[in-house]
């Protein structure tokens, strides 16, 4: 190797380091890959939140009810600001009628949750309450909102942490949903 080229070695090493650091700028450190993707969704049983005084008061939801369906489990709470941010998108999704979305009301009070859904609309087929956050722990929830896509066999196929965006919906969730529904 000629001497001039040898002198350039540190420069090339520097370029490689810059490349890695540049890539790092676009990574989200808050996004922790869930070990649950590809595994059976944890089973749970919990009270259903009554909305608009509908006949759901005192009813219990069991996750086994969802066998044979592809559905989204959206973890939210009325105290969570980012959930309000994604709410309009959930409403849009609900309007298309193509996605079954169940809400898991995480560490919230029934009254406040009901209030928010009355004020902003209810995008959920049903809302299940998780007052002490135990179901949340089973699903590895660490920052609401979180959204899980669960297939007909009850396997978690995709998890999104943070508010849903149209981009995530169109590039990740909808294609997977179409594939799973076949």
């Amino acid at each position: 190797m000629s001497k001039k080229l040898k002198l350039l070695i540190p420069f090339f090493l520097f370029l490689i380091a810059v490349g890695f650091l540049f890539k790092g700028l676009f990574l989200n450190p808050r996004e922790v890959p869930s070990p649950l993707v590809g595994k059976q969704a944890p089973k749970f049983q919990a009270p259903v939140l009554a909305i608009n005084g509908a006949g759901e008061t005192g009813k219990t939801f069991t996750s086994d009810e969802m066998k044979g369906q592809v559905w989204l489990l959206n973890v939210w709470a009325s105290w969570c600001v980012a959930c309000r941010e994604e709410h309009p998108l959930l409403m849009e999704m609900a309007k298309t009628g193509k996605i079954t979305t169940y809400g898991l009301d995480y560490k919230d009070t029934d009254a406040e949750a009901q209030q928010m859904l009355v004020a902003m609309g209810n995008p959920y087929n049903k809302v299940i309450t998780d007052i002490d956050g135990k179901i949340g722990i089973d699903y590895g929830v660490y920052g609401v909102p979180e959204t899980y896509l669960i297939d007909k066999q009850g396997l978690i196929r995709y998890k999104h942490t943070g508010p849903l965006t149209p981009e995530v919906l169109l590039t990740k969730i909808v294609p997977l949903l179409n594939e799973l529904q076949q």
Partner: protein
């Protein structure tokens, strides 16, 4: 008169210092100090996922509180430390542990430094050898 004032002041001082010491004492220990010690040791090894640079022991986030509660109740049920850690890893992934386990995706993390040490040692060896054979003057011009 003077004596009474001094007594009063002393009494005040006594009460103030008493209240200070009481404030310093931690909340009454849970029924099982052994279990609390285990929880404390373990929660220093676990990451709070809300504030990622804090351990479960340091964090005041509601999730950290919930997880400590969950760990406590599992320990009470008689689960071993390893079983509790496995329970958390199954839900939150290896990221929940402050000490990353050795596996394929962390191999570079664990062995990278030794690799660099080897490369550095090799370069040092070559340079020294070169210098010993009198080539250093040649390299400088």
């Amino acid at each position: 008169m003077k004596k009474r004032v001094i007594t009063l002041m002393l009494a005040c001082l006594f009460f103030i210092s008493a209240s200070i010491t009481f404030a310093g004492v931690a909340r009454p220990l849970a029924e099982d100090p052994v279990l609390e010690a285990r929880l404390k040791a373990m929660s220093h090894e676990l990451r709070c996922l809300v504030c990622q640079n804090q351990t479960l022991a340091d964090s005041d986030a509601p999730l950290a509180e919930d997880l400590r509660k969950e760990i406590r109740s599992q320990m009470r049920e008689g689960k071993s430390d390893q079983e509790v850690i496995d329970y958390l890893v199954a839900r939150y992934g290896d990221f929940v542990r402050y000490r990353p386990p050795v596996n394929n995706s962390t191999a570079l993390l664990w062995f990278g430094p030794f690799l660099l040490l080897l490369i550095g040692g090799f370069v040092l060896y070559r340079t020294l050898k070169k210098q010993a054979s009198g080539e250093k003057f040649e390299a400088e011009d």
